[in-house]
């Protein structure tokens, strides 16, 4: 347990000391929320900024996937670069190092997500919905992103390829969720916008849990269903990650 905390804390320190990356992971989503806060029909949501309220969950969740890049950078450096010999020379298995790294990455993503939420709520008058739903969705989606990071780490040849995959996945999810361009009104587009990706599921779960559900036709029941789907996807990803980690020699 002591080794877990030693390694976990060192990773958290190292993640947050990558100042450039941390700033980008905060400034960009917050900037996008700020821009979107100027748009939207102000009469739709009493007392809150509709633009910030609908975009805050979207970008908070989207950037959980962009966060994967920072975890992958450290994983490749430590376990596929020369550092791996130094770490392997220590009297510990690889799991002793990888597990705290994984948890640290999850915690890091959570913290980034919480900061985005707080800035949006405090400065942009974004509506949170049900706080518990928001926290649970953030926990699940950040865990999902961490599992995907680990899978990319196991299968990608090098960091360049891995980082490329991060961008493909992150932008792909945003596009397919309709966060970047309107998807239109076709049945497929509506489905994708509401349920088609983890981002869409998460965003809707948060929005359905509060006042905004009156505009969207959802409700707490739908929130719970969305959370359940997210949890199931994450569980499957977790199992696949564990199986892959046992089979693939790093």
């Amino acid at each position: 347990m002591r080794n877990f905390f030693l390694i976990f804390l060192s990773y958290v320190k190292r993640f947050f000391r990558d100042i450039k990356e941390v700033v980008l992971l905060l400034v960009i989503p917050i900037g996008l929320i700020v821009i979107n806060s100027f748009f939207g029909d102000a009469t739709l949501l009493e007392d809150y900024n509709i633009g910030a309220s609908t975009n805050m969950p979207a970008f908070m969740l989207a950037f959980q996937f962009f966060n994967m890049g920072i975890m992958l950078y450290f994983l490749f450096n430590d376990f596929k670069g020369e550092m791996r010999w130094r770490l392997r020379a220590a009297p510990h298995s690889l799991l002793t190092f990888v597990l705290p790294a994984f948890v640290a990455s999850w915690v890091f993503s959570l913290i980034i997500g919480v900061v985005i939420v707080l800035v949006s709520v405090i400065f942009l008058n974004a509506y949170l919905g049900n706080v518990l739903v928001l926290v649970v969705v953030l926990l699940i989606v950040s865990l999902m992103a961490s599992f995907i990071s680990m899978l990319i780490f196991l299968f990608a040849k090098n960091f360049k390829v891995a980082n490329g995959l991060v961008y493909v996945i992150s932008f792909g999810l945003m596009i397919l969720s309709g966060f970047m361009f309107p998807l239109g009104n076709s049945d497929i587009a509506v489905f994708m916008n509401r349920f088609g990706t983890p981002l869409a599921l998460g965003q809707r779960a948060i929005m359905y849990s509060g006042q905004i559900n009156d505009l969207l036709g959802g409700g707490m029941e739908q929130s719970i269903i969305n959370i359940g789907i997210l949890a199931a996807i994450t569980l499957v990803l977790g199992i696949v990650t564990i199986v892959a980690a046992r089979r693939i020699k790093i």
Partner: protein, 313 residues
């Protein structure tokens, strides 16, 4: 013996990296592992550390049979990697705390060891700075400190002075001697002859995945010292001088180019004084040096190769 390697074979695809390697390490010594690039030094020490498994053969360290699964066997080993492997995002103290913590150090003992290591490698005034702000030599010193912080019984240093300035190199070499004085066994791999000559008690020469010679510097030199060369600048060179020198018993060859003479004799022939006497009778000499084989010559004789990458067979 603190460590042994018996008939170790390791292949990477079609490449035979270790070819029935046999190596013994005596407790308390500084063992130099000398070989050109590709000789198998790094593979040998990774096998000894249990970082990779050999295809066959047995490696033991401190009584433990080494393998990638035997984690306990690594507790008393410190590995100084060839590349600098410190965390650039953590400062010097944090790096030492991390690596010391991995080996079970805690609290006051960890703090004391960290402080001692910073002093040992001369980085006390850089304790709170990150390695990215260090010179190459300082980074190498921190690299060494991270391997020593837990006070291992066996330290393996894989070319620890590559690419650094002479001052830092000397500091590191002195540090290695200090480590050994405290009873720690050191395996020091390098392709710099002068380092091995400066600090090692015993030298193992590796080539093509096996140890081809081992012993002290004197023992290794003695193996090939069957000839002795004298370089002389004669004041009055002549054919008679050349003939008289050739007539000395034990002289194998005389090469005369202008007033420069290179005289090759059998070792132990005691010809140096005779050559001096004859040269004196023919007008004397302006310079006279005796060449003794060095480790470079040993290596060249045994392997047919020069030690550095810029040398050729």
């Amino acid at each position: 013996m603190i460590a042994t390697m018996k008939n170790i074979v390791k292949r990477y695809g079609d490449t035979l990296a270790l070819d029935h390697l046999n190596l013994n390490v005596v407790e308390g010594e500084i063992l130099g592992l000398l070989g050109s690039n590709g000789a198998g030094k790094t593979t040998a020490i990774r096998t000894l550390c249990g970082l990779i498994d050999a295809d066959s053969g047995e490696a033991t360290v401190l009584g433990h049979k080494q393998s990638v699964r035997n984690l306990e066997a690594r507790r008393d080993i410190g590995l100084v990697t060839q590349e600098i492997t410190v965390f650039k995002d953590l400062n010097a103290t944090e790096n030492l705390q991390y690596f010391g913590g991995l080996y079970g150090l805690r609290g006051a003992e960890l703090a004391a060891n960290v402080k001692e290591m910073l002093e040992f490698v001369g980085l006390t005034d850089r304790a709170k700075k990150r390695p990215g702000t260090f010179s190459g030599g300082m980074q190498r010193r921190l690299n060494i400190a991270c391997a020593l912080v837990h006070k291992p019984k066996l330290v393996i240093m894989d070319e620890p002075t590559v690419g650094i300035d002479p001052q830092s190199r000397n500091h590191i070499l002195e540090s290695v001697k200090d480590i050994a004085k405290n009873g720690t066994t050191v395996i020091y791999t390098t392709h710099y002859m002068e380092e091995v000559q400066a600090i090692c008690d015993r030298i193992s020469i590796m080539d093509s995945g096996r140890v081809i010679a081992e012993g002290s510097l004197e023992e290794l030199v003695g193996r090939i010292q069957h000839e002795q060369k004298v370089f002389m600048t004669a004041i009055a060179p002549s054919d008679v001088l050349t003939t008289d020198i050739k007539a000395i018993s034990g002289v194998k060859h005389v090469e005369a180019i202008g007033n420069q003479y290179i005289i090759t004799s059998a070792t132990g022939s005691g010809n140096v004084s005779r050559i001096m006497e004859i040269a004196g009778r023919h007008g004397g000499v302006s310079s006279f040096t005796e060449e003794k084989p060095n480790l470079e010559a040993v290596f060249l004789t045994l392997t047919g190769k020069k030690l550095r990458d810029d040398g050729e067979v």
